[in-house]
Each structure stands twice: as C-alpha cells, then as structure tokens.
C-alpha cells in the first residue's frame, strides 16, 4: 500500500489523483473531519438538554437545525464516506486488482461529496434528517430546505457511483484465479452493501424530486392541502433508509471480520456462514421498512408482515455474532486497540439488536414510537456498532496508511471512555423513552426522573467528547511523529496475513 504520509507529496497530487489509495485517503480525511463536526453538534444538543428550559440555544428552531445537520452529517458525511475510504484502500488489494474498476468515476464520486456537504452545512435546514412533510413542504424556511434537498441529491448520486464501482471491481476485476467464494469477507460486505444501495437509493432520489416540486408548488404529492399524502413520503423514505441501515452496518461487520481473526490468530470460524448472512441481510433489508410506521394507520395484516420481516434479520445477525465468538474460541487473543473496539462493537451490536427485537413487536412500538427509546436504539447501532467497528478498523489500518504506529495507551483510553460513554448515553435513552420522553424536543417538563436521566446522558456524551479529543490528538501526532511501523506485522501477531503482501507493492 502507498504510504502517503510517510512520503509527503504536494497536496494537489493527492487531490487530483485517481489512484484508489489516494481517493481512499481523501475519503478518510473528509469522513473524520465530519465525525468531529457532527459530534460537536451532538454535544451542543446534549448541553441544551442537560436541564429543562432554554440553556445555551435561544430557540427551538436553532435546536431543530442542529439535530437535523447532526444526523445528516454523521450518516452521509461520516459513516458512508468512511466505509468508502476502507473500501477504496482494501477492496482492490483484496481482489488483487491494480485499482478500482473506474478510477475516474471513483474520484468523481468523492468530489461530489464536498459540494453536497457544503449545501447541507451552509443551508442548515431544520426539518430533521427525514425532511418531515408536510412541514418540509409548507413551512420549512427559505433556501435551507432546498439546499438540503440538493445536497442529499448529490450525496445520493455519489453513493450510487461508488456502489457501481465496488460491484464491478469485485465481480469483474477480481483476479482470474480467485473465485467469488475466495473473496475476503470485508470485500463481500462491500458487495452486499453496494447492491443494497443500487436498489434502495433511486427511490429516495425520486422522493427528493417530488419533495422539491411540492415545495415549488407545482405538485402536491405529499401536501394534504393539494390532495397529497405525507405517508406516501414515509414509505418512499423508509424503503430507502431502512435498507440504508444495513448499508451502514454491513461494512462495519466486514471490518470486524478482518480484525477478529487477525487478533485471535486463527482464521474465521465459518467463511460460508458470513457470506450467507451478508446475502440474507441484504435481502431482508427490504422486508422491514414499514416498521418505522406502525403508528400511521396501516392495517393489522401489513403491520404483522413487517414485524415478521423485521424479525427475519435476527438469524442473520446472530450468525455474525456466533461466527465472531467461535473464531475467538481457542485463539490466542491479543487485545490491541483494534481488537478492543471490535469486541466492544460486537457486544453493543448484540444489545442494539435485542432492543430492536423488542421494538419490532407492534404493540410495544406504539408505546415507544417517537420516544427517546428510538433515539437510544438507533444510536446504539450507529455509534455502538458502526462507529466502534469503523474506529477499530481505523486503528487497524493506521500503520498501513501512514507507516507509523499510533499511541497504544491513548488508543485504549479512547476505547474505554467511549465504551463507558456509549453505555451511559444510549442505554439511559432507552429508559428515558420508556418514561415517556418524546424525541426531537428542545425543552421538557421538569419531571425529576427525566432530569436525572438527561443529566446522565449529557455526562456520558461529554465523556465520549473527551475521548474523541484524545483520539484526534493521537491521530494527528502519531501520523507525523509516531514510531515507525513494521508494515509486515505492525501489531506483533506473528506470521503474515494475506494482503500485506500486496500492500508492499506500490504498483499493485
């Protein structure tokens, strides 16, 4: 692998390169930048909710803008680009090809993200990451909403271009001697998630256009005043964004499939079950979108179908967890920082899944709908599973990318603080939801239980914030002045793994 930071080059050479590791580096830097920006917004939200009443933000509109951009940023500008960074670095190496299938398209897909991000951040819309109609049509203010719509449109096209590239690279450009059954599970995860993107995103692209024309007043698809139906938007949105959950989580699981066997010093227990579970998840991803909408007046039969469709994801998810456990069994596990993040991520994945199973039962869903339970549940997935897997993998790939080692102690401190903070924040939010606190509120009544739980959540969020500052310092310092890494075996695990051979050849 090219060691970009060890052999400095003019920044424009990297920016205008189409080489997969250069594009991967750009994705990496962009995604981490937005991790910190989106995370900072989360801390503002939590500081505001530390006590009832207005604390640091003057009005509810500002609060709404902040949580809208927070959600949009961390999903579209951190998690997805981070996965693309990992895919760009490792997928061509894993399938033994010189680059991505379409290098220029790859660079175009990346360079669509900054304008999309600029539209989201400069507009700072206030209608939630869901663009809630009819509010988003009738009264969401000014250019902010339109900028968000255009920004998401651009980001969606970028995702589709990236997905096409991954699918073609894996299926058509893999080494002729390598069968699809020999492609590493991380590459399989990109194949599965890319196929989901190709099926799911066009629906949202259409919904965004309809939303825009509704806003312009030339149509009334989702506008009740013109005979439209906001619930139709819900169906279109969730048809894309429930599968999108799997687009986010599947690469993170793929990253864990790299880390767990490596640090357990033995191969994955069952490669075939991992592949099977990825394929199964990418199918059942489309069987559960309406579980977000039980409260919208669907028929009993529809609700039952989507409840069972939701539960169909359980066996596939459980296969991954059991695969990880069986891999670690009888290994000689080295708990370096990446392994700690991966194991923590598996534990939280299981917790998030258990909460999801409970929430999939429609009578319970009526109690928890739009409450803080939902916030706790999906954050446990995106932070506890996806971010943990991603950050673990970032530590894992750090020596291969920079040629230097990060500070191991700081990496472990980062993990421990984040793990504690994550449990404090998101487990407590589940309970807060059961106590009836609605989500997306700027203020809340001074109920003692609500106050104390909000304070626990805020303290947990601040702990995560501190851990992220440590992480940032570690990354910046170590990438420039860290100890030089042995790129054959940077973690001292013994033996050689399969792709560092390829990584040593800068021409691939």
């Amino acid at each position: 692998m090219v060691l970009e930071l060890q052999k400095p080059r003019p920044i424009w050479q990297i920016m205008f390169s189409t080489h997969h590791t250069d594009v991967g580096l750009l994705y990496l830097i962009l995604s981490l930048s937005f991790l910190f920006m989106g995370g900072a917004l989360a801390l503002i939200i939590r500081a505001e909710l530390f006590l009832p009443g207005a604390q640091i933000l003057g009005d509810a509109m500002t609060f709404n803008r902040i949580f809208t951009v927070h959600g949009t940023t961390l999903i579209f500008l951190f998690i997805l680009p981070f996965a693309s960074a990992v895919g760009n670095y490792f997928v061509p190496i894993m399938v033994r090809y010189k680059d991505m299938a379409y290098p220029k398209l790859n660079a175009i897909a990346f360079w669509m993200i900054p304008p999309g991000a600029a539209l989201v951040w400069l507009g700072f819309a206030d209608f939630t990451w869901y663009a809630q109609p009819p509010y988003s049509i009738i009264s969401a203010p000014g250019p902010a909403a339109d900028m968000w719509i255009f920004g998401l449109k651009i980001l969606g096209i970028s995702s589709v271009l990236g997905a096409i590239n991954f699918v073609v690279t894996i299926l058509k450009c893999k080494h002729p001697d390598m069968s699809i059954g020999q492609v590493p599970l991380l590459a399989w995860s990109f194949l599965a998630s890319s196929l989901i993107i190709l099926v799911a995103i066009p629906t949202f692209a259409a919904a965004l256009l309809m939303l825009l024309t509704d806003r312009l007043g030339v149509s009334g698809f989702f506008n009740p005043a013109m005979g439209g139906d906001p619930i139709a938007y819900s169906h279109l949105f969730w048809f894309t964004f429930h599968p999108e959950v799997y687009v986010l989580v599947i690469p993170a699981i793929g990253m864990m499939y790299e880390i767990i066997p490596r640090f357990s010093r033995k191969p994955i227990y069952s490669y075939n079950s991992g592949v099977f579970a990825f394929v199964l998840l990418s199918i059942v991803a489309f069987s559960s979108w309406a579980h977000h909408m039980y409260a919208t007046g669907m028929s009993f039969t529809e609700k039952t179908v989507f409840m069972v469709g939701t539960l169909a994801a359980v066996p596939a998810s459980a296969m991954h967890v059991f695969n990880f456990i069986a891999t670690m069994w009888n290994g000689r596990i080295k708990f370096s920082t990446p392994m700690m993040w991966a194991v923590g991520g598996i534990a939280l994945f299981f917790s998030a899944g258990a909460g999801g199973v409970a929430n999939a039962a429609m009578p319970l869903d009526f109690s928890t709908h739009d409450s803080y339970w939902v916030v706790g549940h999906f954050h446990l997935f995106v932070m506890g599973t996806i971010a943990f897997g991603s950050i673990g993998y970032l530590y894992y790939m750090f020596p291969y990318v920079t040629g230097r080692m990060y500070n191991e102690t700081l990496g472990k401190v980062h993990f421990i603080l984040s793990f504690i903070g994550t449990i404090l924040v998101f487990f407590t939010q589940h309970v807060l939801g059961l106590y009836g606190m609605p989500r997306r509120v700027f203020d809340y009544p001074p109920i003692p239980e609500w106050i104390i739980m909000n304070q626990i959540v805020t303290v947990g969020a601040m702990i995560i914030g501190v851990s992220m500052v440590i992480f940032l310092a570690n990354m910046i310092y170590s990438s420039g002045k860290g100890k030089l890494a042995d790129t054959d075996d940077p973690f001292g695990l013994g033996g050689k793994y399969y792709y560092p051979f390829e990584a040593k050849n800068p021409k691939h």
Binding site: R265, K266, K334, V357
Partner: protein, 86 residues
C-alpha cells in the same frame, strides 16, 4: 454448520411465534375488550426477559472468552496458524 443453522432457526421461531401470538392478542377484533396497556407491558416484560436471558448468555460467553483466551492467560498456547502465511 448445520447444527448452528438449526439452532438459529429454533431461536428465531422461539422469538417470532410468541411475538405474533401476543400481537394477535392485542386485538383489532370487534366486540372484544382488551386493556392494551396491560397487553403492551406484558409483551414488553416478556420480550425483555428473553432479551436479557439471551443477552446474559452471549455477554457472559464473550467475557469468559476474552478472559480465557487472552494471550497473557497462563494456559494460552500458540495457535497452529502463528508464524505461517495464512
């Protein structure tokens, strides 16, 4: 492998059937009076019991795994893959 698939299917059935059963009990049936609040919380406690039991088993297994198979454990021994290209 087949044993694991069988086990997962059994677990899935164990979760899905009681959930569907309880949902039907929650009733859109005309003329029947059901206290939905009681039904909902019963279902919640039942599902939480299942979730916590399974969670305790899986988490306990993971904690034990991490303790027993860590490289500093007195009984830790190299795997057959160490020192090889794999």
């Amino acid at each position: 492998m087949k044993k694991f698939v069988g086990l997962f299917l059994v677990l899935a059935v164990l979760v899905i059937i009681p959930a569907v059963d309880s949902v039907f009990a929650a009733g859109d049936e005309p003329g029947e009076y059901l206290d939905r609040r009681v039904i909902i919380w019963n279902l919640f406690f039942k599902m939480m019991t299942i979730a916590f039991v399974v969670g305790a088993v899986v988490s306990g297994t993971m904690i034990w795994l991490c303790w027993r198979f860590r490289e500093s454990h007195p009984n830790a021994k190299p795997t057959s893959y160490e020192g090889t290209d794999w």
